[in-house]
Amino acid sequence: MQSEPPKEITDYYKHLALFWTDIIYLMSNKPQALASTGPMRAFAANSKKISAEMIEISQIMTEFNRHLAEYYKQLTETWATAQKKVNLKAPEIPQDIEQVDALKRIWIDIFDNDFTELFDSEKFGKNYGNLVSKELELTKHWNNITNVILQSANLPSKEEIDEAYKEIHSLKKRVGRLELHLKKRGMRKNAE
C-alpha cells in the first residue's frame, strides 16, 4: 500500500494554490469585466470557482489513486496465490486425454474460491467502499464545475433540476394516492 502524504503538506499546497488563484482572480477581474460584454461575464466571474474545484479534484485524485493501487494490489496478490495453488496441484493430474479439461477445472475452482474469499473480506470491502467514495467525490466536483458552466449559460443547475424532480414526485404521489383512494371507494360502493 502506498504511504499517504502527510496532511500538512497537502494542506500547504492546497492553500498555496488557492492563494495564487485568488491573486490571479483579483488581477484579472478588472480586464475581464471590461472585456466581457454578454452572458460570458458570469462565466468570467465564476472562473475562480472552477479553479477551486480543480484544486479539490487534484487532492482527491491522490487519495483515489491510493485506493486504486491497493485495489489492484489485492487482485494481483490473490492471483499470484491462486496460481501457486494451481501449480502445486497440477502434477497430481493424471496425464491422459482429459488432462487439459481437468487442469482447467482445477484452475477455475481455485481461482473462483480465492477471489470469492477476497471479495468477501473486510479489507476488500473497506478499500472498495473508499475507492467508490472517492470516485463519487470526483463526480461531485465535476458536477460543481458543470453547474458553473450551466449557470453562466443561464441554464438551471443540478440542484434546481433536482428540486423540480422532487416537486413532481410529490405531486405524482399525491395524485396516485387520490386515484387509488377513489378507486377503492368505488369498488366498495359497487360491492354494496
Binding site: 467502499g129 414526485h169 387509488l180
Partner: protein
C-alpha cells in the same frame, strides 16, 4: 390452458434487478406457463425503467403505491377480496413489506429467495453493500446505475461466469437448442434497469447495513413493518446454492412471521435455477402448485 381453473389469482412481484421476463424466458422453463397449466391466473409486475426524474421513488412508492395499485387491479379484475402474492428476490422484500402492511389483501404469500436478513447474508454482494457510502452515492449520482450492478455481478464466481460459461457456449455452438437458451438468458442478464435512488438508499441501509426488517424496526412512510402481522399462509422457497441471496438471508422470514400455516422448502439449485430450470419445472413448481391449490 386448463379447465381446472383455480379461483384465487397469483400476482408476482418480480425483483428490481434485471427484467420480469425471466419467469417466462423459455416455453420449457417458464414459471408462468407452468402455473397457468396448473390452473392459476397469473399477473406479473414490470417495474419499468426509472429515469433521473424517478430518483425520489422510495419504498413507500413501491409498496403502498405501485404494488398496492396492482393488487387492487387484480382484486377488481378477478372479483376477489384477497389474492395470492409471490415475491422474488428484492421483489420479495417489497412483497414482504406489503404483506405486513396490507394483510387483508393477501390470501397466500410465496417468498422466493427473499432478501430479509442482511447481517446473515454471506454473499459478496452483502459485503459490498455493507461498506457502501450509499448517502453519497444517491446524493451525487441519483439512481443506482446498471453499470455498477454489472460490476457487482462480475465479482460473483468471476472465472466460472467469465470464462467457463463462454467456453461451454463455443463447445455447443452447433447445438441450436443450447444456443437459443444461452442467448435468451445472456440477453436477460445484460438488461437491468437503474434502481431509484431513494429506494436503493433505504434498501441498502435498512436491509444490509442496519438490518431493520428482520428486527421489525423498518419503517415505511412512518409505519412500522412488523413481520408478525404476516398471518396468512406463507411458503418460503430457498436455493441452497444461491450466491446472490444466501439461504441464511432468506430463511429467517419463515421463523419471523406470525402465520400458523407456514412451509419452508430448500432446493439444490441456484438463484436463477430455482425459477427457470428443469429442476424448477420438475420439483419447485409442482410443490408450489400443490401448496397453492390447497389454499386457493
Amino acid at each position: 390452458m386448463t379447465d381446472d381453473q383455480k379461483k384465487t389469482p397469483l400476482l408476482i412481484s418480480y425483483a428490481l434487478i434485471n427484467r420480469f421476463h425471466i419467469l417466462d424466458i423459455h416455453p420449457e422453463k417458464s414459471w408462468v406457463r407452468n402455473l397457468l397449466k396448473q390452473g392459476f391466473d397469473i399477473y406479473m409486475i414490470d417495474w419499468g425503467t426509472p429515469t433521473s426524474m424517478d430518483k425520489y421513488l422510495d419504498f413507500d412508492d413501491y409498496v403502498n403505491g405501485y404494488l398496492d395499485a396492482h393488487v387492487e387491479h387484480v382484486k377488481n379484475e378477478s372479483s376477489n377480496e384477497k389474492i395470492s402474492l409471490q415475491g422474488y428476490c428484492t421483489g420479495a422484500t417489497i412483497a414482504t413489506a406489503y404483506a405486513s402492511l396490507h394483510p387483508d389483501s393477501v390470501k397466500n404469500y410465496i417468498a422466493t429467495a427473499p432478501v430479509i436478513d442482511g447481517w446473515r447474508d454471506t454473499t459478496v454482494i452483502s459485503n459490498l453493500a455493507k461498506h457502501m457510502d450509499v448517502d453519497k452515492m444517491v446524493e451525487i449520482i441519483g439512481n443506482m446505475p446498471p453499470e455498477f450492478m454489472y460490476y457487482c455481478f462480475s465479482v460473483l464466481k468471476p472465472f466460472e461466469q467469465g470464462i467457463e460459461k463462454y467456453v461451454n457456449f463455443f463447445r455447443n455452438i452447433d447445438n441450436k437448442r443450447f444456443v437459443d437458451n444461452f442467448l435468451r438468458v445472456e440477453k436477460w442478464l445484460g438488461d437491468t434497469p437503474p434502481i431509484p435512488g431513494e429506494l436503493f438508499r433505504q434498501w441498502i441501509k435498512d436491509i444490509y447495513q442496519d438490518n431493520l426488517l428482520i428486527q421489525n424496526m423498518m419503517h415505511i412512510e412512518g409505519e412500522r413493518v412488523d413481520l408478525k402481522k404476516i398471518d396468512m399462509p406463507i411458503f418460503t422457497q430457498v436455493a441452497v446454492g444461491d450466491h446472490l441471496v444466501s439461504p441464511e438471508c432468506s430463511m429467517p422470514l419463515h421463523y419471523a412471521v406470525g402465520s400458523e400455516d407456514k412451509t419452508l422448502r430448500m432446493y439444490p439449485t441456484g438463484h436463477v435455477g430455482m425459477i427457470a430450470s428443469r429442476l424448477s419445472q420438475k420439483r419447485v413448481l409442482p410443490e408450489l402448485g400443490r401448496w397453492l391449490s390447497d389454499r386457493s
